[in-house]
């Protein structure tokens, strides 16, 4: 493939691996390549690296190492939290039907396992609606709690519109409900998009379970983690050789685990973190302002308040998002859309519909997400090509208004 200069504005999809992460991982492919479960020196060397990485993540989350389990990524972590908890409860309580509350804007990795449980008649569910900025209300959560509620799952930050949920307030509602219950309602959060920008201390947030992914924070794809609060029993999702106290079997993915740890260590650095956030937010705010000026009839989805500093999501009525992405791609610009045509389903993004975007407009959405390696020139490239792209597509449409 011909090498074209690219302007990467899709950091919510994935991020490039930070060179420091790559460097940290390198020895674990062919030097310290041992199976961390082996008793010999090579095994020990690998296990030391795995545990060092686990400790870094635990320190970032404000918990002990024993509460952190490595997985293949946030999708597995979400599935494990939901299915593992439900199955553990069902095993000990035959005839009981657990109730799970999730927000209407969760990632499919949360929605789908819940839907599966409901479809199989094993659980019931409630979806918390969100306001126009994508936020759930603690009052709604309070009203949704039932006698058989066992789990609440609300993401920390949304992948499409970047809204940051008021987890602390939701945790208070759950804590109040728990004060008069025999079985505690557990609080899970999918924090995939959050670690580089939002507080992830599990005690401060008041969560019992948290899903994380490495590749959204400049680590490698294929590794993630689930934080599991002390005393919480989850049925395993993956059975096998009994690694990680039998909770999650499978040979330790050592190099990637090391990379994940290094990525977390970097986002834990207070100085670098605050500089990154400031710079990214300035670029994002500039981008939003310019797009709204340069593209007629454009609007921003959600508010700039309570939002990830790297996220911008727009609606351009009269165009279809996939066409916008394909045309931008020809100029080397990497963006994404919540249009139906991008997903293989006939419905556009459930997140945009949940915040009240009319369905015909939701097809014309564009998500631009910045990151550690985003430069002003990436934004300028977008601003150069976006207005003409939208204009061209609107001209091609039979609906000119």
């Amino acid at each position: 493939m011909a090498k074209q200069k690219s302007f990467y504005l899709d950091n919510a999809a994935t991020t490039p691996v930070d060179p420091r992460v790559l460097q940290a991982m390198a020895p674990y492919f062919n030097e310290a390549f041992g199976n961390a479960s082996s008793l010999h020196g090579k095994g020990n060397e690998a296990m030391v690296a795995v545990e060092a990485s686990r400790a870094k993540i635990a320190s970032f989350l404000g918990c002990s190492s024993e509460n952190v389990y490595f997985t293949s990524g946030a999708t597995e972590s979400d599935n494990w939290a939901i299915l593992g908890l439900t199955r553990a409860i069902l095993r000990d309580n035959s005839g009981f039907k657990p109730h799970i509350i999730i927000s209407a804007v969760e990632h499919e990795a949360v929605i789908e396992p819940v839907r599966r449980l409901v479809k199989d008649g094993l659980a019931e569910s409630t979806y918390l609606k969100v306001d126009k900025n994508g936020l759930v209300s603690p009052e709604d959560l309070k009203k949704s709690i039932k006698a058989n509620t066992v789990l609440v799952s609300v993401m920390l930050a949304n992948n499409e519109i970047g809204s940051i949920q008021p987890l602390t307030k939701l945790a208070q509602v759950i804590a109040e409900a728990n004060s008069s219950r025999k079985r505690r309602i557990l609080f899970h959060t999918d924090a995939t998009q959050a670690p580089a920008y939002v507080e992830c201390n599990v005690k401060k947030l008041g969560v019992d379970l948290m899903s994380l992914s490495a590749h959204k924070i400049y680590g490698p794809k294929g590794v993630g983690a689930l934080y599991v609060g002390s005393g919480i029993k989850l049925e395993p999702l993956v059975y096998g050789g009994g690694q990680q106290q039998g909770a999650r079997s499978g040979t330790y993915n050592v190099a990637e685990i090391v990379g994940f740890g290094k990525a977390v260590e970097i986002v834990s650095d207070k100085k670098e973190r605050s500089e990154d956030i400031k710079r990214i937010k300035e670029l994002r705010d500039y981008l939003v302002k310019q797009v709204l000026v340069k593209v007629p009839r454009s609007s921003l989805n959600g508010s700039l308040k309570d939002r990830l500093p790297n996220n911008a999501s727009f609606i351009f009525p009269g165009v279809e998002g996939e066409s916008v992405v394909l045309m931008l791609s020809r100029h080397g610009i990497c963006a994404s859309t919540g249009s139906a045509c991008s997903s293989g389903s006939l419905e556009p993004s459930h997140v945009l519909l949940a915040i009240g975007v009319p369905i015909e407009h939701a097809h014309g959405s564009l998500r631009l997400t910045l990151g550690r390696f985003t430069k002003k020139s990436d934004i300028e490239a977008l601003l150069k090509h976006l207005p003409s792209t939208i204009e061209k597509l609107r001209q091609m449409s039979p609906l000119k208004n």
Binding site: E320, G321, S323, S339, C341, E360, M396, S397
Partner: protein
Amino acid sequence: MYTEKVMDHFHNPRNQGVIKDADAVGQVGNPVCGDVMKLYLKINEGKIVDIKFETLGCGAAIATSSMLTEMAKGKTIEEALKIEKLDIAKELGGLPAPKLHCSILAHDALAAGIKNYKENNK
């Protein structure tokens, strides 16, 4: 992933635009579904002598619209009606399964245009 031919028709659409004195138009789809196709036909002695399209839709919707105009131009109405629902996708070297409906939509737009012509010339 789209074939090179799909991307070529998307980026360089053939026969895109409006025929002001069209003999017939055919419009299908709606903005709620995300795809709207409109065809303009110029028909002389039973032959499609000119055809143009306007489309709101995804890459496949634009590419199938463009491909269809190339396939239909110069054909008689009877020949054009023989273009089957998935022929347009075939001509483009295939479409991803969820996009096959775009081929059907383009087919339906042509059928709607020809129906409109027949109604106008009863």
